[in-house]
Amino acid sequence: MFQPEYESMDRVRLEAVQLERLNGLLAHVYENVPTYRRKFDEAGVAPQVGSLEEFASFPFTVKDDLRAAYPYGMFAVPMRDIVRLHSSSGTTGQVTVVGYTAGDLDIWADLMARTIAAAGGTSDDIVQNAYGYGLFTGGLGVHYGAERLGCATIPISGGNTKRQVQVMKDFGTTILACTPSYALLIAETARDMGVDPVALSLKAGIFGAEPWSENTRVEIERQFGISAIDIYGLSEVLGPGVAAECQCKCGLHVNEDHFIIEIVDTETLQPVPDGERGEVVFTTLTKQGIPVVRYRTRDISRIVPGRCECGRTFRRLERVTGRSDDMLIIRGVNVFPSQIEQVLLGIPGVAPYYQVVLSRRGSMDHVEVHVEVGPEVSFDEIKTLERLRARVSAEIASALAVNIAVRLVEPKSIQRSEGKAKRVLDLRGEGSE
């Protein structure tokens, strides 16, 4: 453990710490964030609780609250105290911006260091960080955690897979951090290059940003000869570092000294007992920049009951395998089918009928958008069709920050529906466990 004094804190003391921090948080947001002041007033709650149980009467925060506040409406500190900005992907109306104070970044580094330590990392390790650096929280999040732990950190970011393999080999990487599908691609590329992934110095991997199955974990561990752990986070709450597996691999320990986790019934929104499934809700206890109160993640999971053998007293969140909305995660990027629809409606020649088809090609997600050629398109010339396809592809890539293959299909060939259109055909099979 990186911080055993917290990670194995006695639960009575932990809950006292949570309560104290929660009251600090409630006062901070009531004072500084108009959205929360309004929500609390409307719900008839004062920004003070005598017990954690009382917290269940507080209002929730949803993604739309953050979107409506774009860009800085939910920040709780003045901009001069913000030293880092990150955002989620998407076109205007979908993007959310998060801000961090120096203190927030310091905590984030500690939480991420805990994660790498849980994977088996120490200051002797060499971490190859193949999460994307940039506006996404993955790259820099893992980076500062690795440095905090004292690891030699390689800020290689994603892409250029042959170089990933070369670096892994030449630099003697011991810990790999990237999405699980990218890990499999790296392994495959290594073999194509005549490099045996098992013979590399790798001993552990930290994988997340997209759902992945036990089968995939077994595959990754086998192909690299490493121990692979799942990590969980979201930018609205922090980034990576919210929760992570330990070597027991039976649930992800949530950093409960910094987050309150609740599982609520998807219909009634009432908290459910440990062990029951529901929507995962987080409250940040120590973030100053953009704290969130009872943020509904739309992820569905449950708390794994009981004590973990590793000695950590933080409760475990079971691996997340489903969502309550239609958001897709494609190669680590969040995509809403409605974003695709928005792009298509803005392009003349394309009918507003489309279907996103997800499949697996080897280890990577392959995404295709099937788009109907509109009735007014003169499709006599192939160059017209090619240009249309190129335009749709470019606009989707620009709006969604992810490349999706576009396939033009015959008019009227996409199933029409009376009710909610089935916009997404997920043939990958692993996401829905």
């Binding site: 003169s378 010339e381 069709l385 015959e410």
Partner: protein
């Protein structure tokens, strides 16, 4: 000037058969059929005796059809016959988007069909050069 039908078809087995069967069932006789392919779709171009009926029949069968004006010319049956015609267009700066040829029933003359941007101008230029441009009923 001739009305050519264009059908957008997904590149999968059976589509072309279905298309031609629809035409056959409607009593349409095709003069020429050309399929241009890409990896994912095909563009099928058809010259037939009754383009309007053919269009209705295909649309009823669920196909998407567009009608394009193309130029059909009689090609002299000698080496260089087609080159002479295409050089006339090229010298006037007219680009041929695509072209295809077929032989009339009876085998007397060859017909070249091509698509240009400015149909009326192209027809005038060809007629001025003494090239025989065919009417729809002559094809």
């Amino acid at each position: 000037m001739v009305k050519q039908l264009t059908v957008f078809l997904e590149n999968s087995p059976g589509r072309l058969a279905r298309l031609t069967r629809s035409l056959g069932d409607a009593g349409v006789n095709m003069r020429a059929l050309m399929v241009a392919d890409t990896a994912e779709f095909g563009v099928v171009r058809i010259i037939c005796d009754r383009p309007e009926d053919a269009k209705s029949a295909l649309e009823e069968s669920g196909f998407s059809v567009s009608v394009t004006d193309v130029i059909a010319v009689a090609v002299p049956d000698r080496p260089g016959g087609l080159a002479d015609i295409l050089e006339v267009l090229g010298s006037e700066g007219m680009n041929v988007e695509y072209a295809y040829c077929f032989v009339e029933p009876g085998g007397e003359a060859a017909v070249d069909v091509f698509r240009v941007e400015r149909v009326a101008d192209a027809m005038r230029v060809l007629e001025e050069a003494g090239i025989r441009v065919l009417r729809a009923d002559e094809v």
